[in-house]
Subunit: 399 residues, 2 copies
């Protein structure tokens, strides 16, 4: 049986149209886009067409898009780049406790370099409270970094309001849009952020490539040094084929976004209600309304997430626990903890993240096998045995 | 006519075997290599096989290879990572004036953060003098960064001796091997460096991916923050398909290295001697012996390099000037200047860099068209007109 892939928040398969565009670029536009000759200039033209294609999908001007090596690099460039550029004006950063580690760990590092960071709490649905946010902003605040959609729960933050409040006070606003891009309509002007991070492999584009939107006039400093590529913002030979593939993937995802969101939202609710009907002691983490349509985070009381994941994997279904980043240490998810979920419940969580290749039959299959799996794991746990140890767990930061 | 590509030092076309391996990985190993489920673990296994393949090509242990987003990132990670890790022990770095901008600009940035940097001169052939090198090492020196092969001239530095001298004094040694890898046999133990930077697209692998060899036991700190990927050294979802392609390309290049080096070395000498015979006032920058076999850097007195490049391009031949990095500003190459070449000669330089797809007929064609081109440009220049202006020039850092 072909495995059922419900871990699209971790990564998505490269779509064939994007692969085709990349293969063509690898063969036809192999030149260095910085080279003066025609072979280089052909690569440059392919790059700039891709930049226009990408920018149009998010409502940006082409010159506001800088291509990077991925979402983590984009977040680092935005946060460190903005913090360092504003060093003279202030030393305070506001972010949220439920952000991705690319944001949180970057902020932690800046704390070691003289910056102060406020980590805002979130409510039970994973949303930042606007009053607390407003109160956190200080005279010396230079940057806010809040994600658009959470990678573990799909929770959507009120970016428009938050960016407006920051703008009124002359504070730069960065938004990690890595998980949201391609899953919902997204317009940088409407969002009002100064910086937005994107990652190609979250919307059926290639890995190893991302983008940072930098609103015209916003000053950040590069985090690596070398050639003058990407308008001096990101040195290194430009990865034209991957950028071409990413832009193609984003355009197609954008064209289909309402249709796909509606279809996956319906499948997700079928999965959620089907599980709730069949299994007792299930808690939904995050709301159905204020979240991405494709992410479902559930806690199965008394059944450890890691054990559920492995049993589902054996049954041919790929999901993740609420917290792939810390699964090696068996620490409960920092996102669920920030939502006030007790550790013993947080550790019993699974994230189902649907994608464009999922079909209704796959939902039916999961609803068939999951009740038995949960029952078995609960039985093992209840007699005191620790369900499964971590030989196959990962210490890495899969989103 | 198919253009003749003689700019393989800037970038190389992706070889079909590597592309095939990548396409397969994109389709089969689309999982996130940090995911716990089988789809993720299949990607992880492909990644670790590629790491073994890559490591074997350079005589490293697999666990000593960290994959990055390219050569510039590898150089930055090595230099900034080592400098920051050694901050308590010292504040002095030794490099060379003819290094790539990924090294030089990274060192410049560290100068702004309290480090002192010595930029060693080179001799007329572009080689660092060992006595001056020895004299430059201080009590507070924590890092040396010297490239294996120069990207503009192909000049080979005496890395084995230099790394030995550094090791005797307990100083870390980084070597930018970006231009050398795949062009010459390379063994990290023989070279004796602690850190070596690689870039996939210089040896017919993909762009946007590179590697850093970190000798076991050497401590550096990461330059970006996020997940715990690549043993904590490089956060961000691992670009497995590109890594698979890079490893395949390096293995094939390594298997063919002597044969290709001999063939391209012969073609290069044919080109060099053919040009010298046909055209007066040509100066060879760098030696034939102490250089990569595929790079030929020539100055054509009285004919500006940029004008020659554009005229050759029109004739269907892609080369670069001695200094692609600064061609936008029409500054003479910092590499040639470091070799003591006067600016007016340095500005008359062309770099021919051959690759595995070049054929003898292409050398013949260049020898046919170049004399007329040089004559024409010299005529234009001699009557005082500035040969061609820079609408198509690049400010970027193409190697």
């Amino acid at each position: 049986m072909k495995p059922i892939y419900m871990d699209n928040a971790a990564t998505t398969p490269l779509r064939e149209e994007a692969l085709e565009a990349m293969v063509n670029a690898y063969r036809e536009h192999y030149g260095n886009s910085s080279s003066v000759h025609r072979i280089g200039q052909a690569a440059r033209e392919a790059l700039e067409r891709a930049r226009e294609e990408f920018a149009a999908c998010v409502g940006a001007k082409p010159e506001e898009v800088v291509f990077t090596g991925g979402g983590t690099e984009s977040d680092n460039l935005a946060i460190r780049g903005a913090a360092m550029a504003a060093r003279e004006r202030g030393d305070h950063i506001v972010t949220c406790a439920a952000e991705h580690h690319a944001v949180l760990h970057c902020c932690r590092a800046l704390e070691g370099e003289g910056f102060r960071v406020t980590y805002l709490p979130v409510d039970a649905e994973g949303i930042v409270d606007l009053e607390r946010y407003r109160d956190a902003l200080e005279e010396r605040t230079v940057l806010v970094s809040i994600m658009l959609a959470n990678n573990e729960t799909g929770a959507l933050q009120p970016i428009e309001e938050m960016s407006r409040i920051a703008r009124e006070r002359g504070i730069l606003f960065h938004c990690d849009a890595v998980q949201a891009a391609g899953k919902m309509r997204l317009d940088v002007r409407e969002l009002g952020a100064d910086l937005l991070a994107f990652s190609g492999h979250k919307f059926y584009g290639p890995k190893g490539v991302g983008a940072l939107y930098i609103r015209k006039g916003v000053e950040i400093v590069p985090i690596m040094q070398g050639g003058h590529h990407e308008n001096g913002m990101r040195p290194g030979t430009v990865n034209v084929p991957a950028i071409v593939g990413m832009a193609r993937a984003l355009r197609l995802a954008t064209e289909e976004v309402e249709e796909t969101a509606a279809r996956l939202g319906a499948l997700r609710e079928e999965l959620a209600s089907g599980i709730m009907e069949r299994i007792d002691g299930v808690r939904r983490n995050g709301s159905a309304e204020r979240s991405l349509p494709n992410v479902l985070n559930l806690s199965f009381e008394g059944a450890e997430g890691e054990a559920l994941l492995l049993a589902l994997d054996v049954a041919g279904v790929a999901v993740s626990t609420g917290s792939a980043c810390t699964s090696g240490s068996l620490e409960p998810s920092h996102v669920l903890m920030a939502m006030g979920i007790p550790p013993r419940i947080a550790q019993c969580s699974l994230r189902f993240s649907l994608g464009r290749y999922n079909r209704a039959e796959e939902i039916d299959y999961v609803l068939d096998v999951l009740p038995g799996i949960v029952e078995r794991i609960r039985e093992v746990s209840s007699v005191g045995a620790r369900p499964v140890a971590g030989s196959r767990v990962s210490k890495d930061g899969a989103r």
